[in-house]
Subunit: 580 residues, 2 copies
């Protein structure tokens, strides 16, 4: 039988995947859309490479959440499909996988789903394309393969059949013998995957994934309050089975456990953070030369110098960056983010609170007339300063440089994989930030876990990233600068400083234009775009990396609270392609 | 409040755990039984160290599957409890955690459970010990904390209360407000753990844990047969989302995927392995000197030499080992297992089958008069030879040395973590072995995954181990030698060659004697023991490691089919303690 494999099944860039798949003797591939979007190769080039390698493009996938929708959504979905048909024509692919709708807004009722799928099949037929409809195991209404077949039969169009996926069938315990009820010529595609036994029952969850209070989602304050109301006088005892903790330093883990209990007691007493940060005072980078040149290009100016230390102040709008002459250690890895200053209503109180939570308060040498700075070390070694306005006077600044940058939007730190839970505890209890979105982002050679946290009112936003085990690149840090016109910045930088901004592949814009009425200037300028479900918008772009650090320029509109997570795989792929 | 932590929550040996826990400022610890069993420190010494560190021993845990049993089991369980009470007296611990019974044999009915727990509490009281009864979320009949309280109240003994564990309560979605129905002085202990959201719904399973056909547990042959009967004529296409594959070499993954489809097609055609191995012909080690000395001590003799290669044959009973003069590469890591010879009814057929599954058939230089050997490379590089009897003649052996060793029982190979699935495919499809037990073993600094596979009739047994990510030691290989009297071997080796066998801690035997009527000679000689549910018995012991290799001596009785998995954590801990 002909043998195919989805590009998502192997690692690397799309070009590398095709090479490896051809070398193993496969006849064809399923092009997984994200692999195409992150590839700099236009579809025609992918088609040519596959042909040169003797590979057919047997399927393009996935097309999601199409059917069982209201009229307005249907119109948008058909428009989105037309964009995909054009991409498929360029690829030379004539079979599109449509997964059953998983949206909570999907409408029950097979007739409507069938009618809409028939419409899709008719449109597809104009392009010589057929539709393979697949029941996802977690589909909103259609989750069984026989149900998908029922809908496809109802739709009754020669260009509409089903795709069977062994995972979606067997993971639900469905009996595959029912497949024999489907005419073979209506089974348009067969995807095979095996799986270990359901990997996570409550026993597995308990034995491998527990964590310390505050690192998960349980309401332990409520539980312990009930225990205390019952009159319990015994100890609070941590019993945590966690595969990461088993491999980490016992000293750090024990200390982190103790921190979690202290924070729990504070929470039981109803104590909130005494001095939650209200903004970024500054971010400090090691290495002056290359970073200074980059800041200059971005519109920053050096506005002050520290009287006793080799530290420069660079400003633009409300964004303040410190550049510190590189130490020997920093010189080896290149520029890196070494400290963050947080505006605090009560720096001494914040430091005292940090100390109560066992954070190492850093000694600080200073001349008598200089501002006193309270600082603690974060788990990854980054110094965190609690600042009032006094620190700025030390630099005798000339006043901020005007420009499109208005401040620091967020800072993303890279955590070693075995310090992720610890870092989360630190940012939560010591800094008073609250967890926001958490996600796993595929990158070409692994997975990136990411968690965003923010202070009251979104004033301070921080993102923790860890490279999953196996990723072979150095962890990167980045500073996102808030900006009131990213498009204008992109226009200037793309023309005056070619190579400074990360290039974005055209395939990304093909997809963006399928999803939104996107301004064609975004494509021309390589600006990334995201929109949330409430209509909030996010425009952003990235500089190349200098040492371990890169900059992002971001523009939020309409109350957008996220971080452009949907675009992260593109960014990671392009950073890999750029060789850093 | 007093703050405690279970020793299982941090990494290291028991002594290291106590140090780290004290340094973090905890007041007490829960001693997790496995940590004690794997520790060379007797309970009195653990007690003294904890006291020196200012730590109380607040709880000893867990005691499992005690209540709701028949009369015979109750008597055995009370005897087991008496052993634990004595250990607790030596530790200075006065609170024992009893988890609700999870055995399928547990009897429903609160009265019987309560009555038996009261009996346990009475016995415990004679030792000044109290019992904290905890509902495990996956308990057979008692899985809710209020149910545990109902049983404890029914038992009505002052020395019996409940232990509350936030994980077991909140993971089930139970409301903690019910805790206030329990008198505070009957809540004997409170264990705290947080957890991320249920980590494995079917979506997570699908997106991260799929694998190629034959690497999991789905019946894909059956599914594809149904698809073919339906008349499908399209491709077989692999769609596998797997975090490990994302990080592994694309070339190897693609090749492994292709192998899985070829094996699936063979299975669809009803083809079985044409020449499944019937036994071990030999195992070959690199490095002659240190391994030869060890083999001599174990009772092997050099019985032959290869006419043209620097390879020696060593024999005892039916066990044949080849020692090959170390290559430069092998000299760096010390002795290692480099090849395995399998008795094959049709070596050429086996090699041809391996080749059809894309295994690299190895070129073999040989003199014209020498036996032809068919060999393929396993994924970890180990050479696998398919042998008939002819190979032995090359060595002109003097005849096997008599001795207690009768043959090779099994061989354990260490796999790099990202080749585990690939190795499983190889052993299954290329060698015709079938998966047996699969387990995860905690070692002091991580987790070890292990999978046993065996040929028809248990003739060939192989174990694949991978160190989980984060384990910092070199992967070890071992050869288990079947033996008809392990106790006699131990007696001779312990007296004549002190230091040759891995020492086994006394705490292991305290536990063994609680579970079984164990021969006291096992303790004296440091022999490990396991018994299966059908009464099959397993006695075994380990040598120290030479280079990357160690030997195990095993004795099976009563149809025992396992590998002494229950003892693996002890072995790993003692290997760590021995510094290798």
């Amino acid at each position: 039988m002909r043998k195919s494999i989805a590009t998502v099944s192997v690692s690397g860039t799309l070009a590398e995947k095709l090479e490896a798949i051809a070398a193993a003797g496969f006849d064809g591939v399923e092009i997984f859309e994200n692999d195409l979007l992150a590839s700099p190769l236009p579809p025609e080039e992918v088609r040519a490479r596959a042909a040169d390698l003797g590979l057919g493009i047997d399927l393009y996938q996935p097309f999601r959440d199409f059917e069982a929708v209201d009229a307005g959504t249907l119109a948008r979905n058909l428009r989105r499909a037309e964009h995909k048909f054009r991409v498929m024509e360029r690829l030379g692919a004539d079979l599109l996988l449509v997964c059953s709708n998983v949206s909570p807004d999907a409408i029950a009722g097979d007739e409507q789903a069938a009618e809409q799928l028939r419409l899709l099949a008719e449109r597809a037929a104009d392009h010589g394309i057929r539709i393979a409809y697949e029941a996802l195991a977690w589909g909103r209404h259609v989750s069984e393969y026989l149900h998908a077949w029922r809908v496809a039969r109802l739709a009754d169009h020669p260009g509409l059949g089903v795709c069977l996926d062994s995972f979606h069938i067997l993971s639900r315990g469905s009996d595959p013998i029912g497949i024999e009820a489907i005419p073979g010529d209506k089974i348009f595609f067969l995807q095979l995957a095996d799986a270990p036994p359901p990997a996570m029952d409550v026993l597995q969850w308990s034995r491998h994934y527990r964590c310390f209070p505050g690192q998960g989602t349980f309401d332990l304050t409520g539980l312990v309050a009930s225990v205390l109301r019952a009159g319990y006088t015994g100890p609070l005892s941590l019993e945590v089975f966690n595969d990461v903790f088993r491999q980490a330093s016992a000293e750090r883990t024990a200390l982190d456990g103790m921190r979690s209990l202290i924070a729990l007691e504070q929470s039981l007493r109803g104590e909130t953070h005494p001095a939650a940060p209200t903004g970024f005072a500054f971010a400090e980078l090691s290495g002056t030369g290359p970073v200074g040149r980059l800041l200059g290009v971005l519109g920053f100016a050096r506005t002050g110098t520290h009287p006793t230390k080799p530290v420069e102040l660079w400003e633009q709008g409300g964004a303040r960056l410190l550049l510190s002459a590189a130490t020997t250690a920093a010189a080896a890895t290149g520029p890196a983010l070494i400290a963050i200053g947080l505006d605090s209503p009560d720096p001494a109180g914040a430091a005292e609170h940090a100390e109560s939570l066992l954070s190492p308060v850093l000694p600080r040498e200073r001349a008598p007339e200089e501002a006193k700075l309270e600082a603690v070390a974060a788990p990854d070694g980054t110094e965190i300063f609690f600042c009032d306005q006094a620190w700025l006077a030390d630099f005798a600044p000339a006043g901020p440089m005007p420009g499109p940058v208005t401040g620091i939007d967020h800072v993303a730190l890279a955590q070693p994989w075995h310090h992720f839970d610890e870092a989360q505890s630190f940012y939560r209890s010591v800094l008073g930030l609250r967890p926001q979105e958490s996600l796993e982002v595929p990158d070409p050679y692994g997975m990136l876990r990411s968690k965003a946290m923010s202070g009251p009112g979104g004033a301070v936003r921080m993102v923790m990233n860890i490279a999953q085990v196996g990723a072979d690149h150095l962890p990167r840090q980045h500073i996102a600068l808030a900006c009131d016109d990213v498009v204008a910045v992109a226009r200037r930088l793309r023309s005056e400083h070619p190579g400074l901004l990360l290039p974005i592949p055209g395939n990304y814009y093909d997809d963006l234009e399928a999803r939104h009425e996107a301004d064609p200037e975004l494509r021309r300028l390589g600006v990334l775009y995201d929109r949330d479900e409430h209509g909030g918008e996010f425009l952003h772009l990235y500089t190349v990396t200098v040492g371990r650090v890169f900059f992002e320029l971001v523009q939020r509109a309409g109350g957008y609270q996220g971080y452009g997570a949907a675009n992260a795989p593109i960014r990671l792929a392009m950073q890999h392609a750029a060789g850093h």
